[in-house]
Structure formats: structure tokens, C-alpha cells
């Protein structure tokens, strides 16, 4: 009887080890958003009391199995305690899949494949001193949240990019240069 139980236990251990080895051989998904490779924020639109800037950054599944990016959104970390003059609305889109509604359509990420995310920020000035307010803006942290589902789990992760005061200033200067040329 004891021998039989040992045999069954050995079979179970063997099955577990085989399964673990199989999973290791299968590999994992490793979705990466390359925030360190983002482009500069450039102005895409100016209105009377607002400015829109956008940047691109690549993303890729560097792992061995497919995963799905269920959602991706940006959250601006500019509390009024830090700076009160501008309200920033953010949206994330995929290159080639631009939308007007702020919705992020779930996308499959096959192994070793990716694309580009476009982060757009609408800077709405809350007073009449538009230029002065924009030029006084501090660096603004923007968190990029993304939800992933793969063969193992469903999780939310985030990366951070920074809209710098320099980029805002340069966008305004570019606008000024354009107006001078006109």
C-alpha cells in the first residue's frame, strides 16, 4: 500500500515538474511601454485659451507569448496645490487608430510585436493671462496606466512621463515663430 502511495506521489510530483517546465518553455508576455524613447511634446493645436500638445512612444510585447492590452489611459498629476492656472485633459491613442472619443480599443500584442502610443494633452488655461500662465507652468507628471491580460493574469501597470516646462515654452515659441512668419 505504501509503495502504491509513493508511486502516486511520485507521479504527481513528476506531472507538476513537467507542467512547470512546459510553462517555462512556453514563456511569458512582457509588455513594455518605452517611456524613455518618447518623442518631444509638440503643439498640435492652439485655441484662444488652450493649447494641445502630443508625443509618441513605442510599445512592444518583448515576451514569447501573446497578451492583450485591454485599456490604456493617461492621468495627469498636477494638483491645484502645485499649480492652479491650467486644467489638463489627457488621452492615449494608438498610431493608425486615432479616435475622437478618448476610448482605447483593446488590442492584441503578439510576441515581439508592438506599435506606437500617442499621448495628447489639452492644456486649458483657467484665467485670461493665457501666455503668462502657460509659461509659468511647472514640469507635469503624467502617468500612463495600462491593463494587460495574458495566459497568467490580468493586471494594471503604469509608467510615468513628464511634460516639461521647457517643452511647453518651446511649443509656444514655435507658435510665435509661425505667427511671425505669417
Amino acid at each position: 500500500m505504501l509503495e502504491f502511495l509513493c508511486f502516486v506521489a511520485a507521479l504527481i510530483v513528476l506531472a507538476v515538474v513537467a507542467f512547470k517546465l512546459y510553462c517555462i518553455r512556453l514563456g511569458k508576455s512582457v509588455p513594455v511601454i518605452y517611456t524613455d524613447r518618447r518623442t518631444e511634446f509638440k503643439a498640435t493645436e492652439f485655441k484662444e485659451k488652450s493649447m494641445t500638445v502630443a508625443c509618441e512612444m513605442p510599445y512592444m510585447n518583448t515576451g514569447k507569448v501573446l497578451c492583450t492590452m485591454m485599456d490604456c489611459f493617461a492621468r495627469v498629476q498636477l494638483p491645484q496645490e502645485q499649480f492652479k492656472g491650467v486644467r489638463i485633459l489627457a488621452r492615449v491613442e494608438r498610431e493608425g487608430e486615432r479616435r475622437d472619443d478618448g476610448y482605447f480599443e483593446a488590442v492584441l500584442m503578439p510576441a515581439q510585436k508592438g506599435g506606437k502610443l500617442i499621448v495628447t494633452l489639452d492644456l486649458e488655461v483657467q484665467n485670461d493671462d493665457v501666455l503668462e500662465t502657460l509659461l509659468a507652468m511647472p514640469d507635469v507628471n503624467v502617468d500612463i496606466f495600462y491593463q494587460i491580460v495574458d495566459k497568467e493574469s490580468l493586471y494594471i501597470d503604469k509608467r510615468r512621463i513628464v511634460l516639461t516646462a521647457r517643452e511647453v515654452r518651446e511649443a509656444i515659441e514655435a507658435k510665435g515663430a509661425m505667427m511671425d512668419n505669417d
Partner: protein
């Protein structure tokens, strides 16, 4: 040869707040005659029936986490959430048994038994991204009572027939259910180029004009196969 034409019917985004028969009355009734047939996309019918679930609302069990590892990537059951959704409707042990039997049969050179033994939902569940927004973040089950729905659609519209079809852009057209007189192979052939279009086209219903006349012209053998 009878001139059969396919008319994709554009609708609003249909949700579980809609009623499939009211939708047919609203979008199809005025365009369909007694010689015509109508087909509705199975995923849209399932959505109307509220047969959707968010992965976040599922708690995959150990078995689901284990079995999904053996499903080729890209399959709707290849994640713990897709597998759990199947276990929730077909039963955990039925799925496990079908999996083991399917694996044995596959080793013996007869693939496909997992899908035959695991219950009808095994082949019907669509994982996330398989459906149009806003349901791209949901797992969509196959429709409930598809034969009854097809029969009732036919009765209410007074048309020749109705089918519920699972069609995609990969040249796959599967007839999930159909009314008497409809030939699934013929309808599948007619729908193979996916006239339902992609998500943004919002055409979940396709009218097959003059289907009855085409059916009458078919050889007797084909009719007998039906």
C-alpha cells in the same frame, strides 16, 4: 441563375438593452420579403441577450489556469479568464474531461474532440478584442436558444428563413442555427466574405435577397443534404 444579393443592414450599436425582435422590426421588416432570408451575427445576438462578462468579474480556478496553458495563443480559451468563462457555463469537470479526452484523441491523430465534448460554448465563446467596442473588453458567450430565436425571427418577419451566423474576416462562416428550409452549407458559402463587415461598419444583420429562389434551383441531392 437567380440573382441573389446580400444587403448588410446598418444599425446603431446594439446592447443588452435591446430586444432582438424589436431590432428586426425596426431595421429589417421593411426590406425583407417572403423569398428572402435574414442572418444575424451570433456575437451581436449574444450581446443583446446579455451574455457577456468582464474578465475582471471572473475568478479563474486552478484548473482554468492550468488548462488554458495548453490552448494555442490567440484562441478564446487561451487565457484563464476565457477558460473560466467556459467552465462557468459548461461545468468545470465536463471541460476538464473533454480536455483530457481531446488530448488523448489528438495524440491518436484525431484533433477537435475537446471542442466536440466540451459543450457548444467551447467553440462559441469570444475572448476580449473579438467584438466591437464597447464590448471589446468583454468575453462574449455564444447566444442562448439560437434555434428558437431564428424561428421566431422568421415567424415575425414572414421571410423564407433565418440563420444565426458566426462569420469572420478569416474566411470562416459557421451557421450556429437556422430555420427549416435553410441550407447551412449554402448560407455559409454566401456569407464567406463576411458581409457583416468589421466593427465600425455596424452591420450585424444581413438580408439574403431571393434566397428561396436560389434554394429551389439547387440539385435535389443538396436539398436532401439539408
Amino acid at each position: 441563375m437567380t440573382d441573389v444579393s446580400l444587403i448588410p443592414v446598418k444599425t446603431r450599436i446594439l446592447t443588452d438593452k435591446d430586444d432582438v425582435f424589436a431590432v428586426m422590426d425596426e431595421y429589417v421588416k421593411d426590406q425583407i420579403g417572403p423569398d428572402d432570408a435574414v442572418s444575424i451575427a451570433e456575437s451581436v445576438l449574444a450581446i443583446i441577450q446579455g451574455r457577456i462578462v468582464r474578465p475582471e468579474d471572473l475568478k479563474p480556478c486552478f484548473l482554468a489556469r492550468t488548462l488554458c496553458m495548453f490552448i494555442p495563443e490567440g484562441g478564446s480559451l487561451a487565457t484563464p479568464y476565457g477558460m473560466q468563462s467556459l467552465m462557468d457555463v459548461e461545468g468545470k469537470w465536463r471541460v476538464a474531461g473533454a480536455f483530457i479526452a481531446g488530448a488523448v484523441m489528438k495524440v491518436l491523430g484525431k484533433p477537435g474532440w475537446f471542442y466536440r465534448l466540451g459543450g457548444e460554448q467551447t467553440a462559441l465563446i469570444d475572448d476580449v478584442t473579438c467584438t466591437m467596442p464597447p464590448f471589446d473588453k468583454h468575453i462574449v458567450y455564444g447566444p442562448d436558444k439560437p434555434f428558437e430565436v431564428a424561428r421566431e425571427i422568421k415567424r415575425r418577419l414572414g421571410c423564407y428563413g433565418a440563420v444565426v451566423a458566426d462569420v469572420n474576416d478569416l474566411k470562416r462562416a459557421r451557421i450556429v442555427s437556422h430555420t427549416d428550409g435553410m441550407n447551412p452549407a449554402l448560407v455559409s458559402h454566401l456569407l464567406i466574405d463576411n458581409p457583416f463587415g468589421n466593427a465600425s461598419q455596424k452591420t450585424p444583420i444581413v438580408i439574403i435577397k431571393n434566397y428561396a429562389k436560389l434554394r429551389e434551383q439547387m440539385p435535389a441531392k443538396a436539398a436532401a443534404d439539408n
